[in-house]
Subunit: 488 residues, 2 copies
């Protein structure tokens, strides 16, 4: 490293200054990617677009995504990112995979869909042959078809249903004054969607539609976090986790057959961190068995739900050490450090995720504030799954230029981009999150090399076996080359 | 470093886990400070106070300072910080040293004070023997005494004057939607205060009052950034920079004589980055001469004003290399990286500040995003002057937990805390900024060791010669010991 800069006539040598600037730039994500002549040309074009975008006000990454979304949609940088082959989506939750738009305008129009409005201003859905029984949270079920027939303005009604299934609001700062409030709405929307998604015939279409939305955004592979909820038939029959897993497998097979440029999808089995240690133990045993039975589909295990209010990884240590005790391998993909409660017990999840040999870190929002854990994660090549829009909407950060991942990107820390809960945030695919990471977090210095490395990373850090990574890499490269030549 | 953690029965060894956590904690600011038994006791107490504070809503560092201020004033942590000997204030601008309250309630009540309301809703003040002539920005001057006599509610009127001299507003987000708007008001308030402060008889009292406010907040030394504006007498006589510097020297002497526990004050001569290269060259030559003539008072040189809209350091390189060309030493204390325009030319100021051998970095908000510059700054022991409230009010960051200095604090980067423009932000002394750094940026893991190191740093990284640092250190230690024993 060039620490001593020659000084001539009191002035630092401009050549050495340039060299230092290039040395620093080479450390960032994609900083060591060599670009072809064609790539360099596109990179220059992209930089010009970005400069224009960064000098305009308001700057989309600096404002709440719900207000920034229409601005981003008009952005030429975003349009290019949509066309770009982005590789894999490695951090999406199954309950928020498909747009609420589709759930309402398609699924709720299917026959025998009942709705119930709860006392706390939420909704439940249920498909049923006959009038469903009252439940503790739902006393009065109405057939949606009948209700719609009675309502004057079905479009307004449908929009109100969509509101129940997403976090979108015109006034995010007013409506979500704190993390507590936004997380409450978050959990409500999850529960509201469950009755639709877990209906067995819907589930098939839902997965297919989810893969379609990703494919449409030029994504070729998915790792989906799912609790493998039981699904139900019209007559009340309940299917178990295995059925759900098999369905996922079949749908994926069908989708890749229909779309040969799609590589596939796998499941990261997830349980909620609100469970007891005993329950998590049982879930881990289950996951071990499922991974044995479906090695191609099950990638590993994770704990989900708001970190600040659930048990820490260390709290679950007896459960998490089960696989090693049993002499089996269950790869972990832990959410960790999705918090700004610095120095608390929750804040230690990042270190514990690493000590339990996590394969990747979900979010790792707090990682930059943990120098030792950061080194450990880098040394072990454990990538951070950066989900910028999720972090903003869930109120960890407002201006994305201050996202701590800016530090990680500047240092070239292992990283992939994902969308966490696209349907809840009103995104689809990864283009919106790529935009925020590329324009907001990366700033002007992030370039085409950055984008290339982020896309390549998504295959490199996936749970795929080596030979499928090679296949994926080759498929991606072909798409990438086409993307470059199409956009010159 | 302990990279390999022993695993027993699938579980990471708890002792080694603890060790890792302690290793990480030892890296933070103050992480290697050894606390006495008494200090440890106070530390435990402080931690309990902090835990209570961090679990309450709203969390003051997460909301705008103008709304957080009344909450902070009630905080037991803040009250302790007020009593704590904080060492030196190394980053304050002379035009915003003394509270607007004092300017209005004391200075504007002095005889022959004229006021003028400008077309752009600002004010100008002027002390004059007779009715001042109209100026380009001021057509109609009124004697304040006469005006006040005609106004029904002088308290309301005085409050409106205070508003002109500070950035305070009940609705900061609404009134300052962008950095541009808040900086405009910022510059206006500076200009409004100038007519009061640069009146020669006021200037003496102003400096004295400024030192008093610092002393009252348990600060013992000041390095003041000042442009050494010319001052004026009632009859229109103008004093030059040398007069201003001498006045500062005399007042400091008087103040330290009156307060033997105050160490002193020095000036960092500052020029605005809106000047031309030629003008800056002249200013640097001036500064060299003034430092020669007043070696005890002049600490060095800086460039001030909004970085995003002024010339970069590299733009001024011919001027900045003058001292070395002339074979003299003029220490630099550059503002650098007070920007979120990542990857722009302005963003390179940090590297250039270091290449021009800056002694400290003012703000360094962008430093954490520059891994190479960060290493260079650490290696050369160049401290960052962290001014959290300034960064929040000037809209670089909203929730202070996301201030990039959290990374620097976690890594134990050389750092001091300061207040930048206390009168404009409505603070006095350093306690408010210490609170934000300690509770918001440092989080729960920042402890009494952190506070101790920050205070000690302020003397260590000052421009004082070695023997005065020793004196200062000894004076501070005495105060610190008393602080510990008084608060057990
Ligand atoms: Zn997630
Ligand atoms: Zn400043």
């Amino acid at each position: 490293l060039l620490w001593f800069v020659r000084v001539t006539d009191g002035m630092p040598d401009p050549t050495q200054r340039d060299l230092l600037m290039r040395q620093e730039a080479s450390r960032q994500t994609g900083g060591r990617v060599t670009l072809t002549a064609a790539e360099q040309k596109l990179d220059s074009y992209l930089r010009r677009l970005k400069e224009q975008e960064m000098s305009a006000a308001p700057f989309p990454p600096a404002v709440h995504f719900f207000k920034a979304k229409p601005l981003i949609q008009k952005s030429p940088v975003f349009k290019l990112l949509q066309k770009m082959p982005k590789g894999a989506a490695l951090h999406i939750h199954s309950s928020s995979l498909v747009s609420a738009e589709w759930l309402v305008r398609n699924v709720t129009y299917r026959p025998r869909c009942y709705i119930c409005f709860t006392w706390d201003n939420s909704v439940r859905f249920l498909f049923s042959e006959r009038q469903p029984f009252p439940r503790w949270d739902c006393f009065y079920w109405q057939l949606l078809q009948t209700l719609r027939a009675r309502i004057g303005d079905p479009t307004a009604f449908d929009n109100s249903l969509i509101q129940h299934l997403t976090l979108f609001t015109e006034d995010p700062d007013g409506e979500y004054p704190s993390q507590d409030v936004v997380w409450e709405k978050f959990e409500k929307a999850f529960i509201a969607a469950a009755g639709l998604i877990t209906h067995a015939p819907v589930l098939r279409d839902y997965y297919y539609k989810g893969l379609e939305e990703l494919h449409h955004d030029n994504i070729m592979y998915l790792e989906l976090r799912s609790g493998l909820s039981r699904s139900y038939e019209l007559d009340g029959t309940i299917h178990d986790k295995v059925w759900t897993l098999k369905t996922f497998q079949e749908v994926t097979k069908k989708f890749t057959a229909d779309h040969p440029d799609f590589l596939g999808a796998r499941i990261i089995i997830s349980v909620h961190r609100a469970l007891t240690v005993t329950e998590v133990k049982a879930a881990i045993k289950d996951a071990i068995q499922l991974q044995k039975d479906f090695p191609d589909v099950v990638a590993g295990f994770d704990m989900v739900g708001r970190e600040d209010s659930g048990g820490t990884l260390w709290y679950f240590r007896e459960a998490l050490s089960l696989p090693a005790q049993l002499g089996v391998t269950l790869p972990y993909f832990f959410h960790a450090g999705e918090t700004d409660d610095e120095g608390s017990n929750v804040d230690q999840n990042i270190l514990d995720a690493l000590l339990f040999n996590t394969t990747r870190i979900g979010h790792g929002f707090a990682l930059a504030h943990h120098p030792l854990a950061k080194e450990l994660s880098r040394k072990r090549n454990v990538a951070v799954e950066l989900c910028p829009i999720s972090n903003q909407v869930l109120k960890l950060v407002s201006d994305l230029r201050n996202h701590p991942a800016a530090v990680l990107m500047a240092e070239g820390h292992p990283m992939v981009i994902s969308s966490d809960d696209p349907s809840l945030f009103g995104t689809a695919g990864l283009s919106y999150d790529f935009y925020q990471a590329f324009v907001g977090i990366g700033g002007l210095k992030a370039n085409l090399g950055t984008l290339k490395e982020l896309a390549v990373n998504s295959i490199r850090y996936s749970s795929l076996p080596a030979h499928l990574k090679d296949t994926g890499q080759a498929m991606w490269q072909k798409k990438w080359d086409a993307f470059i030549s199409d956009n010159l």
